[in-house]
């Protein structure tokens, strides 16, 4: 066990304590008439403006795991790890197209979750359930992975120990997070995201300006990384990576970016953040403003090269056999202790915001699309909120058990699968806001094929260290290149959905009723006289109203 670094840890604990106070105080921030309604607890009163939404979605999408894993990928593999930059750019035109329509229809019909929309649009509780379960399954390991981010910085700060002593800090952090999420709902992460994003921007700007000047400039960083990446990896005997993609990896790079960009705005936690916006225009503006975070992500990814170009850090990572430590070790090496503490606090607080939003998103999905839809159709808004609060606690306990009880690689594998799964809800959700051409059962069948193909193919991949779930890439049938499994599965999904839709229409299989109208998709804040405390599903009465 290394010595605990006092000053770093003190600053880290200080920020953790500060955001805990903010988290509890958030219950009073912009308070509505009651917190016991999902619009309030689960969507922060559906009232956030452009500024708050920018911080909230930024804090939501760019997670602690991202901050640790993206530079780790660049550190380990070079250019291939940089795919998250094109992904984080091309996701936003999709957000601009899909987001405002989803916001409008949800505003009009009081939808709280993605599955609420799918159920209402296609008149199918079953399709809604499929979307809800996909979302919940994808959220769980993602929450667990936020803990991995905290663990990485705790390890570097010397909080290692064994057994309970090692796990206790994580346990405390998650208990506090669970408590203020329970009381304050979405307002807690919204307010904390201001602290988180300020710390993140500060850390990255300082790192990008200061570290290169200390280790010989950007030119040197790239050259040294290139030389280091070209050396054969002891595990495989091949070079670890290269500074640019090769003929072997162009397809992988492009399909990873495109496939992931489809998923970004249909992940339940993203939609939860977006539906909390008060006006349609807030989403449209944010689609143009959120790429600021993508730029930060790009520079953050390059920290992986800084770590590789600093021999002490590269050796430290090799000794620990854990590329996830690349950025924590780099900060620890390059910064004075007090600033390292600040940077680690940024990663730690960066784990809390998305973990809170993800647990709220998963609980809302369970409450609305499993509990209310199938078990208690008459549940009152207060009952729904109580169920959501309890489920949010369960979800966090589950995530904790997951990380402490199982090998970390399980969470990472499942998160990889989660990405593949979420893309399979794109036709019902993101195409669904534009057209109802697809038949509901065809969408369900396409989803099942996509899920099955994606899961099976991912299971079949191996890596030097793992027999199954080794990577998210596999051969694309009929193309002869390696590509992102999610995108291949998505293509199969669409083909099945199109063919079956044509067959079902020919056979006149009954289509569900659509409770939405065309004008719902362009409605704005003043198009529905929203009363706080109004029943959760006013859609049916309001549907015929003209826009």
């Amino acid at each position: 066990m290394k010595d605990v670094k006092g000053l770093e840890l003190t600053i880290f604990v200080f920020f953790f304590a500060a955001v805990t106070v903010v988290g509890f105080a958030a219950a009073r921030w912009r308070r509505g008439q009651t917190l016991m309604h999902l619009d309030e607890w689960g969507l922060g009163g559906r009232s956030f403006g452009t500024f708050v939404t920018w911080f909230l979605l930024g804090g939501d999408l760019y997670t602690a795991y991202t901050f640790v894993a993206v530079p780790a990928a660049v550190f380990a593999g070079g250019a291939m790890g940089f795919w998250s930059v094109p992904y984080a750019a091309i996701a936003y035109p999709i957000v601009f197209l899909v987001g405002p329509r989803l916001w409008s229809v949800s505003h009009r019909h009081g939808y709280v979750t993605t599955a609420d929309f799918v159920r209402g649009r296609f008149g199918s509780r079953g399709l809604g359930l499929a979307v809800a379960l996909t979302g919940i399954l994808a959220m769980m390991p993602y929450i667990a992975l936020q803990l991995v981010g905290i663990q990485a910085v705790l390890t570097v700060m010397g909080v290692t120990g064994s057994g309970l002593a090692r796990d206790l800090p994580l346990f405390i952090a998650f208990a506090l997070l669970a408590a203020y999420t329970y009381t304050s709902g979405l307002r807690a992460p919204a307010l904390i995201s201001f602290v988180k994003d300020t710390l993140i921007y500060l850390t990255i700007i300082v790192a990008v300006l200061y570290i290169p000047s200390r280790i010989g400039g950007w030119g040197h960083i790239f050259d040294a990384s290139q030389a280091s990446l070209a050396k054969p990896n002891p595990a495989t005997g091949k070079p670890s990576g290269s500074l640019i993609t090769s003929n072997m990896t162009h397809w992988a790079y492009g399909t990873l970016a495109l496939g992931s960009s489809l998923a970004l705005f249909i992940y339940p936690h993203t939609v939860t953040g977006a539906l909390a916006a008060g006006r349609r225009d807030v989403i449209r503006r944010n689609a143009a403003l959120l790429p600021a975070y993508s730029l930060v992500l790009g520079f953050l990814a390059l920290l992986g090269y800084m770590a590789r170009a600093t021999p002490e850090v590269a050796q430290g990572v090799a000794k620990a056999k854990n590329p996830q430590l690349a950025v924590p070790l780099l900060f620890d090496h390059a910064f004075p202790q007090w600033f390292t503490g600040l940077a680690f606090a940024a990663i730690g607080v960066g784990a809390l915001v998305p973990a809170a939003i993800m647990s709220i998103a998963a609980s809302n999905l369970f409450t609305r699309n499993v509990y209310t839809a199938f078990l208690r159709p008459d549940a009152s808004p207060a009952e729904e909120t109580r169920v959501s609060q309890l489920v949010s606690l369960l979800v966090k306990v589950g995530a904790l058990v997951f990380v402490l009880g199982f090998d970390k690689s399980l969470a990472i594998n499942l998160q990889l699968l989660g990405g593949i799964w979420v893309v399979q809800t794109f036709p019902a959700l993101a195409i669904g806001v534009f057209t109802r051409w697809f038949h509901r059962w065809a969408l369900l069948a396409g989803w099942a094929i996509g899920m099955g193909y994606g899961t099976w193919t991912a299971y079949d991949t191996s890596s030097p260290t793992q027999k199954h779930f080794g990577q998210s890439l596999a051969d694309i049938p009929f193309v002869g290149h390696t590509g992102y499994i999610a995108l291949t599965a998505f293509v199969f999904n669409i083909v099945v959905a199109v063919v079956l839709t044509l067959l079902f229409r020919l056979a006149k299989v009954p289509d569900g009723t659509d409770e939405t109208t065309a004008s719902d998709y362009t409605a704005d804040a003043d198009d529905r006289p929203a009363e706080p405390g109004e029943s959760g599903d006013p859609g049916r009465e309001l549907t015929p109203a003209a826009g």
Partner: protein
Amino acid sequence: MTEPPSAGPGPVSKIVAGVLLVLPFPVYLAVPSYAKITPRIAGFPFFYWWQLLWVVLTAVCIGGAYLLTRRNDGGVR
């Protein structure tokens, strides 16, 4: 899709906005076109500065599409 009766964006604005929104996709998906070390800028290989530059340009494209499709009353399409 029914058009709202108030002054919405004209067909030309919509087409230009559509082109702006699609543009980043071919740029980023043509991976071999930017998988190059040179020309370098400030030490950054082409592969990196080109993609970082396009993050900014993507934001500009979306901002342009936003302005083009804004309704006069501050509402939207």
